[in-house]
């Protein structure tokens, strides 16, 4: 029996001036066999991605550096065993990549206002998060921070994604040595922490009144449009995502002729059926049944009868679509804006299928697994800000569609209901407003009304036979 040995995989030397690299992707996982010279990992430096060949044939028994983490050249990043029957020695990577930023679906509770910068509690290989999960630092930088008693929030990162590099720390130390000021931890929202929306920014901190230390390094010149902040004001520079979102909204307003109408729906029957199905869905399928799949199902069925609502105005003509890719507006945390993934061929899904699709988007949104295909091809959209208490809205129609349905909060209200033989009574009913914005270029009010009447009818006379799980 041959004597097995272990072989280290190290961050390779990629040029005399390249001192560190970032793990982009492990192509081999722990327990997998890799051939000598087969690509084991992809790394990135500057704007170059490199496939790194395995130094030997063997089994990966340890991965020491997780994807997204930057390490110095020469750092051990994995261990191979030449014994092809070797078993992994460690289950978990030492430096786990921080969890991606949560993309909260609309149905989630409001996110906490400020992500507090965590105190530097170095993981074994040091990945210090800034609350947005992106300010990875190399071990060298982590060591320097600790040695010099610096907080990562005091340093503006110039590396990829705002990462603090060794050079940034050196610059900060030089600035400190020359009497310059470091950014005060967490008092300056633009330092490292993700930009807080203006509405939640502490208005009691007038920027101009902040103490200015002599010889403070000049703020980086911010392109050509410097907005001036007065006393009691604070500047939030539009992120690129915000800019693109703004472009989308303006483009829709500038092209579609928006009209909104509001309907009132009695959700008594749906509430009853949901109460009955909810435990079954949970027990049998592990899926939470909210009201949204009911509204989706009712909408998709109404679209089949009123197909112009499921269309696009393309170069002056209307393109009517016989399939429904049902968009679902998803709010994304920390100023990242709004996503509208769409459930493909929603007309083919029953209540369970829709509930699963909604849950799937929530999970994949959080883990950043939404693909471009998810975000493209929507034909009609539902947005449900009602979970926050909004009664009704006048939503903007997504570009490339002619309608969007907004669901308001479900509120128990006293309603006049019809009794037998024309009698009337007041009863407490779970009521919801639904509003529809439609593009008046294509759709007239009468058509939109008939579509909405159908949605209302589908919900109020929910057909268990047709819609059941």
């Amino acid at each position: 029996m041959a004597v097995a040995s272990t072989i280290d995989v190290v961050m390779p030397q990629m040029g005399s001036s390249v001192t560190e690299g970032t793990i982009s992707r492990w192509l081999k996982q722990v327990g997998e066999t890799v051939q000598s010279d087969e690509t084991i990992v992809e790394i990135s430096t500057d704007k170059v991605d490199t496939e790194v060949p395995s130094p030997a044939t063997g089994v990966v028994i340890e991965i020491l550096v997780a994807e997204g983490v930057t390490v110095e050249v020469g750092t051990r990043i994995a261990v191979l065993s030449t014994d092809l029957s070797a078993t992994p020695t460690a289950a978990a990577p030492v430096a786990a990549a921080p969890e991606p930023v949560v993309a909260a679906p609309v149905a989630a509770a409001p996110a906490p206002v400020a992500a507090a910068p965590p105190a530097a509690a170095p993981a074994p290989i040091a990945s210090i998060e800034d609350g947005e999960g992106r300010a990875f630092v190399s071990p060298v930088v982590a060591r320097m921070l600790v040695e010099h008693g610096l907080e990562i929030t005091q340093i503006t990162g110039s590396g990829r994604g705002g990462r603090v590099t060794k050079k940034d720390v050196e610059n900060a130390l030089a600035a400190r040595a020359s009497g310059g000021a470091l950014a005060a931890p967490s008092s300056e929202p633009t330092a490292v922490a993700p930009p807080a929306p203006v509405v939640v920014a502490p208005i009691a901190v007038p920027v101009p009144a902040a103490p200015v230390t002599p010889a403070a390094p000049a703020a980086p010149a911010a392109a050509a449009e410097p907005a001036a902040a007065g006393a009691g004001e604070e500047i939030y520079t539009f992120s690129r995502v915000r800019q693109v979102t703004a472009k989308h909204m303006r483009e829709s307003i500038n092209t579609a002729a928006h009209v909104t109408q509001v309907w009132e729906v009695d959700l008594g029957r749906v509430t009853e059926i949901r109460g009955k199905l909810k435990p079954k869905f949970k027990a049998n399928h592990g899926v939470n049944l909210s009201f949204l799949p009911f509204i989706m199902r009712a909408t998709v069925d109404a679209l089949a009868l009123w197909p112009w609502m499921n269309a696009e105005v393309r170069t002056g003509d209307a393109v009517i679509k016989r399939y429904v890719n049902l968009g679902m507006a998803v709010a994304v945390d920390d100023g990242k804006g709004l996503l509208v993934p769409s459930i493909k061929n929603a007309e083919s899904l029953n209540l369970l299928g829709l509930a699963q699709a909604v849950a799937d988007f929530a999970v994949r949104g959080r883990s950043k697994k939404l693909g471009i295909d998810d975000l493209m091809g929507g034909t009609f959209t539902i947005t449900n800000p009602g979970v926050f208490g909004s009664l009704y809205g006048t939503p903007i129609i997504p570009v490339g569609q002619v309608g969007i349905l907004d669901t308001g909060a479900i509120v128990r209200r006293p309603m006049v209901i019809q009794g037998p033989e024309g009698s009337e009574a007041i009863a407490i009913r779970p009521m919801m407003y639904i509003s529809l914005s439609f593009d008046h270029r294509l759709i007239d009010g009468a058509y939109a009304s008939q579509f909405m009447a159908q949605v209302k009818q589908n919900l109020e006379s929910w057909d268990e036979e047709a819609y059941g799980a």
Binding site: Q13, M14, G15, S16, S17, V18, S24, R25, T39, E42, S44, T45, D46, K47, V48, D49, T50, E51, P53, P100, A103, S158, G159, R160, G161, A221, A222, A223, A224, T237, F238, S239, R240, V241, Q243, V244, T245, K247, H248, E251, V332, K336, G337, L338, L339, V340, G365, K368, L370, G371, I372, D374, L375, M376, G377, G378, P398, V399, G400, Q401
Partner: protein, 226 residues
Amino acid sequence: MSATAATAAYLMDLPGLTPYDEGLQLMENLAGARSQQAIADVLMLLEHEPVVTLGTRTDVATELPHPALLEQRGIPVVEVARGGRATYHGPGQLVGYPILDLSAMGRDLRAYVEMLEGAMIDALGDLGINAEAREGEEHTGVWVEDRKIASIGVHVASWITTHGFAINLDCDLEPFDLFVGCGLQETRYTTASIEAGRPITRADAQPVLLERLGERFNRTWELLPS
């Protein structure tokens, strides 16, 4: 003082607009041949039909939150087996895919990127544009003050380079506003024509670029029949 004799390399000059998939396939075939030492280094020069390309690990939520804007303009989105951010290619943008063996050039990734930047800066200088490289890896590419005029994105396997650079000559810049792209909040894009204040076409830029790339890489270009 005499320089080492320049090595001959191929130039594949693709006229008109090349669909992205076709250009990529050609590039990969050439890279395969290069890695087996079947051919010499090659430089592909081309313009693409409008396209937005995504790295396979792109987080679409942060890079392409509203693809409907592209769909509406008929700009396809293509996923590419590369890292890096979303980027736009289209008519009026000169794209270069150098397929080189870096083993013969000292295996230095940063030096390679700097050579590309240097050649583009020199070529833009020949056209009367004062362009420069900027500090910091997030600023890779070529800039005129704070305006980005050329981008770089390189893939290396077995020290063979693929992908490369793109210089905005007289392209429509609006598509850059439709996605998040290189992710730098302050990035604004520009073209050689805007900077020079006169139309600069591929016919103007390509000869000087070839000369400057030849200088940097010590290559002479032998035109391949396309």
